[in-house]
Symmetry: C2
Subunit: 465 residues, 2 copies
Amino acid sequence: MWGIELRDKSEISLARQIFLTLKQRILAGQIAQGEALPSTRELAKGVGVSRNTVSEAYDMLWTEGFIVSRQGAPSRVAEGLQITSGNAAPNPERTKEPTPILWDFKTGQPDLSLFPRQLWSQMIGQAASHLSVRQLAYSSPRGYWPLCEEIAHWLLRSRSMEVDPEDIFITSGATQALHLLVDLLYREGHAFALESPSHQGIRTVIGDRGYPLHWMPVDNQGADISTLRDQNVAAVYVTPSHQFPLGGILPAGRRAALIRLAMANDFYVIEDDYDSEFRYAVAPVSPIYSMDSSRVIYVGTFSKTLFPALRLGFAILPKPLQARWKHHRMYMDVQNPILEQIALAEFLNKRKMDKHVQRMRRVYGEKRNVLLRSVERSFGSSVQPWGDVSGLHVALQFPGMEFGESFIRACREAGIRIASVSQYCSIPGDHQDKLLVGYGHLSHGQIEKGIEALHEFIARGVEGS
Amino acid sequence: MWGIELRDKSEISLARQIFLTLKQRILAGQIAQGEALPSTRELAKGVGVSRNTVSEAYDMLWTEGFIVSRQGAPSRVAEGLQITSGNAAPNPERTKEPTPILWDFKTGQPDLSLFPRQLWSQMIGQAASHLSVRQLAYSSPRGYWPLCEEIAHWLLRSRSMEVDPEDIFITSGATQALHLLVDLLYREGHAFALESPSHQGIRTVIGDRGYPLHWMPVDNQGADISTLRDQNVAAVYVTPSHQFPLGGILPAGRRAALIRLAMANDFYVIEDDYDSEFRYAVAPVSPIYSMDSSRVIYVGTFSKTLFPALRLGFAILPKPLQARWKHHRMYMDVQNPILEQIALAEFLNKRKMDKHVQRMRRVYGEKRNVLLRSVERSFGSSVQPWGDVSGLHVALQFPGMEFGESFIRACREAGIRIASVSQYCSIPGDHQDKLLVGYGHLSHGQIEKGIEALHEFIARGVEGS
C-alpha cells in the first residue's frame, strides 16, 4: 500500500519507517494535499503491522503538521506541503489557503505523547469491568466520593494543602468550574475583577453574560490589588501561583491584602491554579486557599497534568456556596461520567500521578532550558523571560519592541503561530513589548528551529522598517 | 466474615447466597441500621469469592432497599429494617427518621440490572487501548464525529429519521442540551412556552434564569397549541412522542399548526424525545423534526436506553444556531470526554444498541402489563391509564379522587414513594385525579406488591375520611 516497504531488522522502528515513507510521498506530491489517508485499521492490514504501529506513525505525521484530523474522521494531508512538482499543480498565485503552521508556540499545550496511555488504559479497563449496577445510576452532582478523597490526599502531597474532601466538587475541567462560579457569584451592581492580561476563557464567560468587569493591572509579581479598594465586586479572579500569562507569583503582602478586602467588602476570591504542578525551581508556592478557606474558591484541573479530553477538574468550595452549586450543577448536566472518575481515583491512589508529574516536570524543565538557551543564542541577553520558573509557556520581553495585531498576523502568514501579551490585555497600551511562547508540546528541535525562525522573521521586519 | 458460609454445589448462586445471609442478618438486627458494610474487596477476600460476586450481592441488597450507598462511600444498612428485637433498640416513639421507602414508583428509572455491563466493559477497554495521542487533545465542542454519524444511522433505523450528521451535536445528556438551548434561544420580551404538566428539570432551568414562562394545558393528546397564537415566544418545549408525564401523542393537526406558528412568529420548537424507544404498540411515532428540520430542535438521550452515569445525549440543530451553540459549549465545558463517545459509536455500529433496546422493550412491556393487571385487580376497571402504550411510567386516573400534597406526604410516610400529576402542573387545579407510577426499575413482584400496598393505603384513607 502506497509503496510502504518495511525492514524488520532496521534500527528504525516500524512506526517511524511508515512515518518517513508517508512524509516523503506527501512532500513529493504523490499523496496530494487534502487527500484522505486510509484508516489505521486499513493501512495496518495492507502493510501487515499492528494498528497501534500505524496509529503511532499517524501521530508523528500529525505532530509535525503533515496531516490534519478531525476526531475520528479520516486524516487528511495538510495544505501547501508539496515541495517537488506533482501532477496538475493548481495555480499557486491566488489560492487563498491559510499558510500551514510550521512553528506552533501555542500556550497551555501539554506533551501528550508522553502520557502513559497503556497504564491509563489498564485503569480504565479495570474500572469498567468492576462497574456495579449502582454506579450506572445518577449519583450526585458533587462527584465520585473516593475521587474527592484522593484529590484531597494529592493536594496535601503535592502542595501541602489541607482540604476537607467534603468541600471538593468534581467538574468537567476548570472551564465548567468557572462557568458555574460566574453564575453562582454574580450580584446585581457588582463587577467581576480580572487580571489584565488574563486568559481569554474567563473573560468570555463573564462577557457573554453581560456582567460588568473591573480590570486589575499586572506587573511581574502578579495582580495589583490596590485598585479593588473602592470597587463593588462580586468576585476577584486571580492566578496567584503563576500569573497567566505573565508568570508572576503574587507576593504574601498582596495575598493578605486581598483576603482582608474580601472579608471587609464581602466578596469571594477565585484562585485558578492552572499549572503550578510544573514548577522547576524550589518548593511549590502555597495557594491563597491555605490562608483563608472561607473566602477563597480554589479551582484545579487535570487537563494539563493528564490530558484535556479527560474533562476532569474540581473546585474547592466554602460551605455557604455548596448547596447552590449542587443545584446549578444538577440542572446544567447533573454530574461527570462515572468511569473516568473511578480510573482517576485509582491513578491517584496508586501514586501514578506523582510519578507522571515528576517525570513531566523534568521534561518540561529541560524544554524550558532549551528554549531560553535558544532565545539567548538568537536574540542575545536583552530579551528576557518574565515571571516564575514554571509552567508550559513563558512571556518574553523584547525591550523597545511593540507587538501589535499586524505583527501577529504577519508571523502567522510566515508559518509561525505566536501570541503577544497585549492580545490578552484589556488595559490599552499594556505589555506591548512581550510575546508568549508555549513550549510544552514541542520537541527540543522544534523549539530551537522555531526560535531561529522567529528571530529571522523579526530581523527581516526590523531591517525592512 | 459475618458468618457467611457458602455452599459451592448449591443451586443458588454464590452472590445470592451472600445476599440472603446478609439480608437475614440485617432483618435480625445483627447488622445494625446505619452500620457500614465492608468494601466489596474486603468481603470478597474474607469470604473467598471474587469481587464481582460480592458486588452482585450488594446490588441485590441495594435494589431491594436493604442498603443505601453514596457513590464509592461504604454501603450502609438502611434505617428501620430490623424486624426481630436486636440489642439496645432505640426508643421507637420519637425518633424522627424518615420511613424507609418500601415501594418506589419513581418515574424515569431504567432497569440498570439488565444493562450488558460486560459487553460495555469490553467496548470501553478496546476504545481505551486504541486511544491515539490526538484523541487525548481537545477536539471539538461538536463531539466525536463517528458518533455523530452512528447516531444519524441509529435514528434512521429506529425512528426513520433522516438526519445530516453535520447537524448532530453531542451533549452530556438531555439536561445539558436544554440548559444550553435556553440561553441560546432567549430573547428579551419573549417567553418560553412549556406544557403543564411538564418535567421539573426544564421548568427549573428556565425559572432559575428568571426568563418568563407561558403554560400550555395538556389533554390526553398532548399540548394544546392554540394558546400560543397571541404570545411572544422565543421557543416552545414539547414532548410530542409521549407527553411527560401524561403520555399523549401530539396529533398531526396540532403538529402542523405548531410548525406553521413557529414560521409565522419566528420561534423554535424544542422536541424532547426522552423515551420513545420504548413503545410497545405499533410502529414508532415519527418526530416533529421530520416535518420541518429548520424550525425544530430535536433532543435525545442515552440515559434511559443505556445508563444515566454515561452522560451522553445529543441535540440536532438547525444550521443558523450551530455557530452560537459551539461558542456556548466551548465556554461551558468545551466537550464531552472522548472515551465514552468512542465506545458508544462502536456499540451503535455493531448494532448492540438495537439488540439491547429490543430486549428492554420486551422487558418493560411485560412490566407494564403486570402493572396494569395489578391495578385492575386492586382497583377494578374504574382506574384507567392515560396516554400512549410506551415508556417507563404510566399516569393513572382515579375518577372522583383528588391527590394533593398531603396525600403524597402521607403515602411517603407509609413507605410508598409516588407522585401526583398535579405536582408537575403549573395551572392550578389541573389533573388532580391522577397519580404517576414509574415501573421501569421494579421487578414483577415489586410492582404487584407495591400496587397492593397503594390500594390498601388509599382504601384506608377513604374509609377514614
